[in-house]
């Protein structure tokens, strides 16, 4: 182990501070996004336009000193537009197809308004997000590490959008809700963004350092009781489970997959380190549960019709699921 937990905390704090120079407030959004990155996952940021989602990701890109690319998803965007394509090359009279990398070939990819692209294009991200590689014309290209996709989507405008399929949603480590800032934060935002100079973030860590941090996060021990709790929590999201809460039984169609449990535990590990601890506690699990599970919980018709939120179901599960001492 080359990295100490103290260094981890120091780096993470530095990243948050640098992002905080650009983004006012939204500390939880920043933290959850950072947790997703440090856990090696991808994050989906959902919020109404104008809340600074794109700016947040851009700031993260600046802070992490990584190759950053932004893709604005539109209905006519094609998979080749983001993956890359083979073009005919004529060099020295020698003609051949050469692969031209798309914007996906970066460390940090901002998929802006991801739900505006067609499912075909959305699905082009699947292999990249899961395997860290891209296959074009029978040839697989490995993506540089670290690689993560930070996507945004607007929950209000439904016209002309294509909701992400479950398989795609499940690839996102966290789904982070971006909410309105409070009054003082709003004033600060107005002040910062209407002046002569625009705030910018400095480089805080490199890609290699991010990988070190990921490695360390995976070493954080999880007490058996907490593991049992996570397992019980995941199983309880399934309506047919005997420990399922009343809300789950009534409004949930499908519960969370094991991948959701992995996200929960890994996220809790990163959060523990970012809190200055060397072990996962129940409070870490509780803190990341909604971000890790909300997009993996599929509500049934009643739930959707009655406007039930996945967060409410998760909150109830957190309160009800217990493990024996």
């Amino acid at each position: 182990m080359t990295l100490s937990p103290e260094s981890f905390l120091e780096r993470a704090t530095k990243i948050e501070e640098e992002v905080g120079r650009v983004i006012v407030g939204q500390k939880e959004v920043v933290r959850h996004t950072l947790i997703a990155i440090l856990a090696g996952g991808h994050a989906l940021l959902e919020g109404v336009p104008g809340l600074g989602k794109t700016m947040l990701i851009r700031a993260l890109g600046q802070t992490l000193n990584l190759k950053f690319s932004r893709v604005q998803f539109t209905p006519d965007l094609m998979p080749a537009d983001i993956l890359g394509t083979e073009i005919l090359s004529d060099e020295d009279g020698k003609r051949e197809f050469r692969f031209r990398e798309g914007p996906l070939f970066a460390n940090l990819v901002l998929a802006d308004e991801i739900n505006r692209a067609t499912p075909k294009t959305q699905s082009a991200l699947l292999e990249a997000m899961q395997e860290g590689s891209v296959t074009v014309a029978r040839k697989t290209y490995a993506l540089a590490q670290p690689f993560f996709v930070l996507a945004t989507q607007n929950p209000l405008e439904m016209e002309g959008t294509y909701p992400l399929p479950e398989a795609q949603l499940d690839r996102f480590f966290f789904k982070v809700n971006v909410n309105l800032p409070n009054a003082s934060e709003m004033a600060e935002i107005l002040d910062r963004t209407t002046g002569k100079e625009s705030p910018s973030a400095n480089h805080a860590v490199s890609g290699a350092e991010i990988l070190e941090m990921r490695e360390l996060a995976r070493l954080v021990p999880v007490p058996s009781q907490v593991k049992e709790y996570i397992a019980a929590l995941i199983l309880a999201t399934h309506p047919q489970n005997e420990n399922a809460s009343p809300l789950t039984k009534k409004y949930v169609r499908y519960g969370v997959s094991p991948r959701g449990g992995q996200a929960l535990m890994l996220g809790a590990k990163v959060r523990a380190l970012m809190s200055g601890r060397y072990n996962v506690a129940f409070e870490d699990v509780h803190a990341v549960a909604q971000a890790a599970l909300r997009h993996r919980l599929l509500l049934n018709f009643d739930g959707l019709a009655e406007g039930v939120k996945a967060d409410d179901v998760i909150e109830e599960l957190i309160n009800e699921v217990k493990v024996e001492n």
Binding site: P5, L219, P223, R277, Y278, N279, V280, A281, E283
Partner: protein, 522 residues
């Protein structure tokens, strides 16, 4: 810092935790003990099975035992270190540091974070002050229950005198019944060891006693015990009276022989007169006619004839043998006469055995009757619970009723003992309002219950001279019973108890019936 340091801290905390749990559960045990004592004591009092000192003992022992048991079990209850670590993680908000460090040290020792995690856990644990943060504490519900049960026990102790007195009374009664049963046992043993009795006699005599013993074992009421003793006493008396007439005739005949100075049968007569039938039989068997002169033989023959005449009605077989002996003597057939005397002696010896059986039965009957009387005397102190139910009964004796002090009670709340039995006759029409006995239904008039005859026997009224009821000789008239009241009372009482035991008497009249029979007890 190593894992031992963590365990050391953990063991200190576990010790404090054990103390905390012991105190908590001891308080709970105290409440449970008091509750159990209250429950058991209350049930014991309801069924009149527990007396005051036992109630106190029960409350003390139950509460102490439950307190110690609960506290001890709680203190010694197995606590695994990991379980304790998890508990303290929660209690002290250590964010699973202790349990993580423990698990990692034992299961993932090669984890690069193990050492730093252990240090962190020990550093966090060092900030905890076990004496202050694991205090001895009690739950309000336990304290409230303890207080409640203590108050209820105190209330029973200080305000339940009537209940305790009733239980004491019942206990005394049961002890008396046990005593009577032991006496019956003694009588049975004495009978079985009596060499004068044959096996058949022993069987006949002990059988009713054994039945009485069994019934005494099963009953715990005064009525049942007295009824059993009285009935069995009567049976034994009846057995003793069976041959009483024959024995009496033998004694009287012996008395007349004993008065004839110098006669051959004077000694035999004296033995018969003394009731020593066995020796008399031996005297008769040992007579050697061959050594007697003719004059003596003639005198003996006369005396034997006289004796045979006296016994002709009560013991015809012996009389016949004696008569035969006399005739043979007169005829000069001394050997036949000697044989007839032997025969008469055998019959006399049989009478001796009958006398022994009769005596044993009589003694047993007397002992049982005395036992019944003792029980009645002991039971005369009315159950204080019942005594308190109406002071009207207490005045029975004084108000002109013929009660035997009905309503006597030793309960403090019963204002006064019942008056002594009045010499005045029973006033059957007296009203309940005058403190006397209320009018009772005619079905309880002192008829000869369960008797073959339908004749009723009017209670002999006491005369103006104040003679006690039942002791005045009755004068027979046509159609009226000639049996003296004193002789039939026990039979009435026996039927009364039988009726009560069988549930034939209406429950609401049980007290009235008991009081009535108490009042007319001779």
């Amino acid at each position: 810092m190593n894992i031992e340091s963590l365990y050391r801290i953990l063991h200190i905390w576990i010790f404090r935790w054990r103390l905390q749990r012991a105190a908590l559960y001891a308080a709970r045990g105290l409440a449970v003990g008091l509750g159990l004592a209250l429950l058991a004591g209350g049930a014991g009092l309801y069924f009149q099975k527990i007396i005051k000192s036992e109630f106190l003992g029960l409350a003390l022992i139950s509460s102490l035992a439950a307190t110690l048991l609960f506290g001890w079990v709680a203190a010694l209850w197995r606590i695994r270190p990991l379980q304790a670590a998890r508990h303290f993680d929660r209690e002290f908000h250590l964010r699973e540091r202790m349990s993580s460090a423990l698990e990692v040290s034992e299961q993932q020792a090669n984890n690069p974070l193990a050492e730093i995690l252990l240090r962190d856990a020990i550093r966090s644990a060092a900030k905890i002050q076990p004496a202050r943060q694991i205090p001895l504490r009690f739950k309000k519900i336990d304290l409230a229950l303890t207080l409640l049960f203590s108050i209820l026990i105190g209330a029973l102790w200080f305000r339940g005198e009537n209940l305790f007195a009733a239980a004491q009374h019942q206990r005394n009664l049961e002890m008396s019944i046990d005593e009577q049963r032991a006496k019956v046992e003694e009588i049975i043993r004495a009978m079985e060891e009596n060499p004068a009795l044959t096996d058949a006699q022993k069987q006949a005599l002990t059988e009713p006693l054994k039945q009485a013993q069994e019934r005494l074992r099963q009953t715990n009421t005064l009525e049942g015990a007295v009824s059993t003793l009285a009935t069995t006493g009567e049976k034994m008396q009846a057995l003793s009276e069976k041959n009483a007439q024959a024995m009496q005739a033998l004694k009287e005949a012996g008395g007349s022989l004993a008065g004839q100075e110098g006669s051959p049968l004077q000694a035999l007569g004296q033995d018969l007169s003394d009731g020593n039938f066995a020796r008399a039989a031996a005297d008769l068997a040992n007579m050697d006619l061959s050594q007697m002169t003719p004059q003596e033989l003639a005198q003996l023959a006369n005396q034997l004839e006289a004796l045979a005449k006296d016994l002709a009605e009560t013991n015809p077989q012996m009389a016949q043998a004696l008569q035969d002996a006399a005739q043979q003597m007169r005829a000069g057939n001394l050997s036949e006469a000697q044989q007839a005397l032997q025969d008469a002696a055998q019959k006399m010896a049989a009478s001796a055995q009958q006398a022994a059986g009769m005596q044993a039965a009589q003694q047993a009957g007397q002992a049982l009757s005395a036992g019944a009387q003792n029980l009645l005397a002991m039971g005369g102190g009315q159950n204080p619970q019942e005594a308190n139910q109406g002071t009207g009964n207490q005045g029975l004796g004084n108000q002109g009723g013929a009660g035997g002090g009905s309503g006597r009670g030793d309960a403090p709340d019963s204002n006064a003992a019942g008056g002594e039995a009045s010499l005045a006759p029973i006033e059957q029409n007296n009203g309940a309002g005058d403190g006397g006995e209320s009018a009772y239904e005619q079905i309880y008039t002192p008829q000869l219950l369960n008797a073959d005859t339908q004749d009723s026997m009017g209670l002999p009224t006491s005369g103006e001279d104040g003679a006690v009821i039942g002791e005045r000789p009755t004068t027979a008239k046509d159609g009226e019973s000639l049996v003296p009241y004193t002789e039939v009372y026990s039979q009435y009482d026996s039927f009364n108890h039988q009726a009560i035991d069988n549930g034939d008497a209406p429950p609401q009249f049980l007290d009235l019936i008991r009081n009535y029979f108490d009042s007319i007890q001779p």
